[in-house]
């Protein structure tokens, strides 16, 4: 998450040009071109940061430098980042490419329709960036006004008993299941990105979690077959994870196993002498990316 360009000391100050006072504590900690969640919020932010960092006109050809830096940034992100976050950055990559193409056009000679179209595309991108920056700037006014008004106290007192009876009937349209849906919304954690990716790939299975199950099963009986260990596992990923955890536990000499014939029944026995839950916490670290 933190590509460090420590050779460029000026980079940090560009990380939130419009509201530097807001995230002051983070800014002190951030050295170099660090994008932290507190002051970073999306591709246009990043694009603006990159551009303001080089104090460049985005219509100039030196965009290639920004593009290179962006690609380096993407590389630094590594595979651990959310797919949706990475894909959002692709928007920026495409934007930068468009701008680069437009920037490489010969200036001044607008002869063919194609180059006109490209220049228009560049203007449009420029307009979008300016628009984004305008909203970013005006959001500071929103923040100030909301904070000021937060401090004000308006008269808001419960009606006297004698008047309460006169209150008009409440209009109620929710069914019990509507109400439950509402509750789900209300309990949902606030402002956590919710691009649903579950339909794209199966949820990741934790080897450590599965190992915990395996350990519990092994310790609860004299011997257990692998068939029993994976009985009831709903998906292949869990079977794989339980098998890997058996191998890991074997490496720690926590279990012994015997198999009387090739492809035959695999019987496992718990044999650990010094087993602690801390060992479980580091189990399968090799499989962490």
């Amino acid at each position: 998450m933190a590509p460090s360009h420590s050779e460029d000391p000026s980079a940090g100050e560009a990380s939130d040009a419009s509201a530097p006072e807001e995230d002051a504590p983070q800014e002190v900690v951030d050295v170099g071109f660090r994008v932290s969640l507190s002051n970073f919020d999306g591709p246009f932010d990043l694009l603006l940061n990159l551009i303001s960092k080089h104090e460049m006109d985005i219509t100039e050809v030196s965009l290639s430098k920004v593009t290179d830096e962006f690609i380096a940034y993407l590389r630094e992100l590594g595979p651990d980042e959310d797919l949706d976050e990475t894909s959002e950055f692709l928007v920026v990559a495409a934007t930068l490419l468009d701008m680069k193409v437009a920037g490489l056009l010969p200036q001044g000679e607008l002869v063919d329709a194609e180059s006109v179209a490209l220049l228009e595309a560049r203007d449009l991108l420029f307009a979008r960036l300016l628009q984004y920056r305008a909203f970013k700037e005006v959001s500071a006014w929103f923040s100030r006004s909301l904070q000021y008004e937060d401090r004000r106290h308006a008269r808001a007192v419960r009606l006297d008993e004698k008047h309460r009876a006169r209150t008009p009937e409440l209009v109620w349209t929710l069914s019990a299941s509507d109400f439950a849906t509402l509750a789900l919304m209300a309990f949902a954690p606030k402002e956590i990105p919710t691009v649903g990716l579950d339909h794209l790939h199966a949820p990741l299975v934790s080897i450590r979690e599965q190992a915990a199950i395996v350990v519990t099963l092994l310790r609860s009986a004299e011997s257990v077959t692998f068939r029993e260990i994976v009985a009831g596992a709903a998906e292949p990923g869990i079977v794989v994870a339980r098998f890997l955890s058996v191998l890991e536990l074997y490496r720690h000499a926590a279990l012994s196993f015997e198999q009387l014939e090739p492809l035959g029944e695999l019987t496992l026995r718990w044999s650990a002498e010094h087993w602690t839950d801390e060992m479980l916490a580091t189990l399968g670290a090799d499989y962490d990316r």
Binding site: A156, V157, R158, T167, P168, L182, M185, A186
Partner: protein, 208 residues
């Protein structure tokens, strides 16, 4: 809500610290600021602690406000009055206008709960008994006025006061069940796993 247990020592202390910034402003104005936002009558002692002034000065200020609101001061009479009820002081609509107020309330359009009120109600329904600050931390927003609305609508009720913190615990009423067309809270559709699985970390968050 009226705290009658404040001693003179507390009052002196309050005067010496928090209220220092407004010390030079008139007691009457400070009292009016407090009186504007309180729901229930507050005793002289409690008001004295609030404005950081000695009880006798507060008594005198209250008396002059009563006079002013009743038109015995320099300005005109007000449409509200300051009355002592059950040992505490509070603003009331002047009785002359009770009919006007009743008519105004009766003439309001049929009420519909806002999205914010409905969400707050659902949180209370699933987490009861629950305090206002717990609800506020789940909703990540101040819920005071919404809770007041729901109380006024009879959809929630004050269940009991926490013996340690003094915080009031709220729960839903039969009226809510009727509106939802169910007979008991057990018939609320389950909304796990958010509630059950996450309960531990959740409670930690809300308990703060």
């Amino acid at each position: 809500m009226t705290d009658d247990t404040v001693t003179d020592a507390d009052v002196t202390d309050a005067a010496g610290t928090g209220a220092a910034a407004t010390a030079e402003l008139p007691i009457t104005e400070k009292l009016e600021a407090i009186l504007l936002i309180i729901d229930e009558p507050h005793s002289l002692v409690s008001l004295a602690a609030a404005v950081g002034a000695p009880v006798p000065a507060v008594r005198q200020a209250i008396e002059s406000l009563v006079d002013e609101y009743d038109g015995r001061g320099q300005g005109p009479r007000r449409g509200f009055e300051l009355r002592e009820v059950g040992g505490g002081w509070r603003l009331y609509v002047r009785e002359d206008y009770d009919d006007l107020v009743a008519e105004f309330i009766g003439g309001q359009a049929p009420a519909r709960l806002s999205q914010a009120a409905l969400e707050t109600l659902s949180v209370i329904a699933y987490k009861q008994p629950v305090t206002r600050s717990q609800v506020a931390s789940i909703r990540a927003v101040n819920v005071d006025s919404v809770v007041r609305t729901l109380l006024g609508r009879g959809l929630i009720t004050e269940l009991f006061q926490d013996s340690e913190t003094g915080a009031i615990n709220y729960g839903t009423t039969d009226l809510l069940l009727q509106n939802l067309g169910i007979n008991s809270l057990d018939e609320l559709p389950p909304i796990s796993p958010l509630l059950d699985d996450g309960a531990d970390g959740f409670d930690e968050r809300t308990a703060r």
